[in-house]
């Protein structure tokens, strides 16, 4: 079993100007997806992230205010799931609710310490 991080990229609901009705509908889909993964016992954790933020960079530790990338590249949240391989992680990602809003899932394998 390996851990994979699913990173959710795309414009925030704020930018898209979703209505309360649409927000409720989206929320319901996310909730259902999370529940499904929990029942399958594959969900390791994850959170939603606010769109704004700070960045510390360079040798002088310059602090700047975000967002830092174009909205389609903005990370809105992540889940970590425990599955066998990329194929299964892709399978899990099918339920991501926001493909129709231009969102995307980036899948990255988590590096784990192995006893030699």
């Amino acid at each position: 079993m390996k851990d994979f991080m699913l990173l959710f990229l795309g414009p925030t609901y704020e930018e898209l100007g979703l209505s309360p009705e649409e927000l409720q509908e989206r929320m319901g889909k996310w909730f259902a997806w999370g529940k499904k993964m929990e029942e399958q016992g594959i969900l390791r954790g994850g959170d939603a992230l606010y769109g704004h933020g700070k960045r510390v960079s360079g040798p002088d530790r310059i602090v700047s205010d975000g967002p830092f990338v174009e909205s389609k590249e903005l990370i809105g949240g992540y889940y970590t799931v425990a599955v066998e391989n990329y194929e299964q992680a892709i399978e899990v990602s099918q339920d991501y609710p926001d493909f129709d809003l231009g969102g995307a899932v980036e899948i990255r394998e988590v590096v784990k310490f192995e006893q030699q």
Partner: protein
């Protein structure tokens, strides 16, 4: 979670906050609330609160305090907002009957006489029903940009007028009430007649109109025969919303499965109609429209429809509402009764240009008249005109099917 919880909570919260801070702060209030709902949608992905409604109320109370600070700072003055016993006073605004009252006041605000009719509808859908610009644009078949401009204009007018969220003066209340009823009626019809392929949004509009009408009836001194009749009309029409479209095709009254009509709404409508006639003196166009709708509902089959009763109601309706659209409906009834000469005379009185988007129905009525007389060429010609002037895809398909039927003859 309850369907439409967010939407309905949004409308309530806007109303409460506008009552506290005044309509001129509407834009700030809407932004603050949008943020609250956004947060809820992100937080609740993982875990839902035990009582979502209570969560929103608590969040909105916090918003009141934020807004107080924000508005005070901006206006650089001690506004006349509650000060020392803020928390206690704020709680009172959140009592159920107070919330209802605030929403009613919002409804009157939406009927602001300085708004155009289309601005009134947009404003009501946005601030009372929590629709987004895009949802309104979809529902009204307009461009999003158009809706945005309308809402901006409406907000500017409100700001300029420095309105408070009070009811109109007693001498004006009757006038404003009529405006409120008309908005509800229009919102419903947008949903009921638009026949969009994506029918979900239509049902939402109809549901909102019903909810607002019920809200109006909750206030005892607003009640009138007209409002009860309007409520009855909305109930009757809603009861057959599901059977109007099947497999993406329009099913006309003749072919609808009457056993599918939703009985509880029919009963509610009937009670409301009876009350409007028995308990009140006033008679309105809504009375006759409701009576006509009820005649259709009562008939066990299309053939069993009491057309002469309906014809009589249209006569009465025309006296109150001398519109060409009413004449057109009358002509259709005469066609059903096979009174072709009378139908022809009625159709001849109509100026098609006055029917605007419904002009295609006029052409379709002529086509039917010619079909009845086996004058197929003229019938086809009018059907083609009807198809050309009809902007709705589902209606067009329906007309094309009729044309194909004639071509088979």
């Amino acid at each position: 979670m309850v369907d439409h919880l967010f939407r309905h909570q949004y409308g309530k919260m806007v109303a409460i906050l506008v009552k506290i801070f005044g309509p001129s702060h509407l834009a700030t209030i809407e932004d603050a609330l949008q943020d609250t709902f956004l947060k809820a949608s992100l937080q609740w992905r993982q875990e839902m609160p035990h009582n979502p409604e209570a969560w929103f109320i608590a969040a909105s109370k916090n918003r009141v305090l934020d807004l107080l600070r924000q508005i005070r700072a901006r206006e650089q003055r001690e506004a006349d907002f509650p000060h020392s016993s803020v928390a206690r006073e704020i709680n009172e605004y959140f009592l159920d009957h107070e919330v209802e009252d605030s929403q009613l006041r919002m409804l009157f605000l939406a009927c602001n006489p300085s708004f155009s009719r289309s601005e009134q509808i947009c404003f009501a859908l946005k601030t009372i029903s929590g629709f987004s610009q895009k949802e309104i644009a979809n529902a009204l078949l307009e461009k999003e940009e158009t809706i945005k401009k309308r809402l901006q204009r409406a907000r500017q007018k409100i700001k300029a007028e420095q309105n408070s969220l009070s009811y109109p003066a007693p001498s004006q209340i009757e006038d404003h009430l009529q405006g409120v009823q008309q908005i509800i009626y229009l919102i419903f019809n947008e949903g009921f007649h638009s026949n969009r392929r994506d029918s979900l949004i239509n049902k939402d509009l109809c549901g909102e109109a019903l909810r607002l009408c019920k809200l109006l009836l909750s206030k005892e001194n607003f009640r009138s025969g007209a409002i009860y009749a309007l409520f009855a009309l909305l109930c009757f029409n809603s009861s057959r919303l599901e059977s109007k479209v099947s497999n993406q095709e329009i099913v006309d009254l003749k072919n609808q499965d009457r056993s599918q009509w939703y009985l509880p709404l029919i009963q509610l409508g009937r009670d409301s109609l009876m009350r409007s006639l028995a308990d009140f003196e006033d008679r309105s166009a809504y009375h006759y429209e409701a009576l006509i709708a009820y005649e259709h509902i009562k008939a066990s089959s299309f053939e069993a429809t009491d057309w002469s009763a309906i014809l009589d109601y249209y006569q009465q309706l025309y006296k109150l509402l001398p519109h060409d659209a009413v004449l057109l409906s009358r002509a259709s009834v005469l066609l059903q009764m096979k009174k072709f000469e009378a139908a022809r005379q009625t159709l001849n009185q109509i100026e098609a240009s006055k029917l605007a988007a419904r002009a295609y129905l006029y052409e379709a009525a002529w086509a039917e008249l010619y079909s009845a007389d086996a004058q197929w060429e003229q019938a086809k010609e009018h059907l083609q005109k009807a198809i050309k002037s009809c902007s709705n895809q589902l209606e067009q398909d329906y007309l094309k099917k009729k044309l194909a039927d004639i071509n088979k003859v």
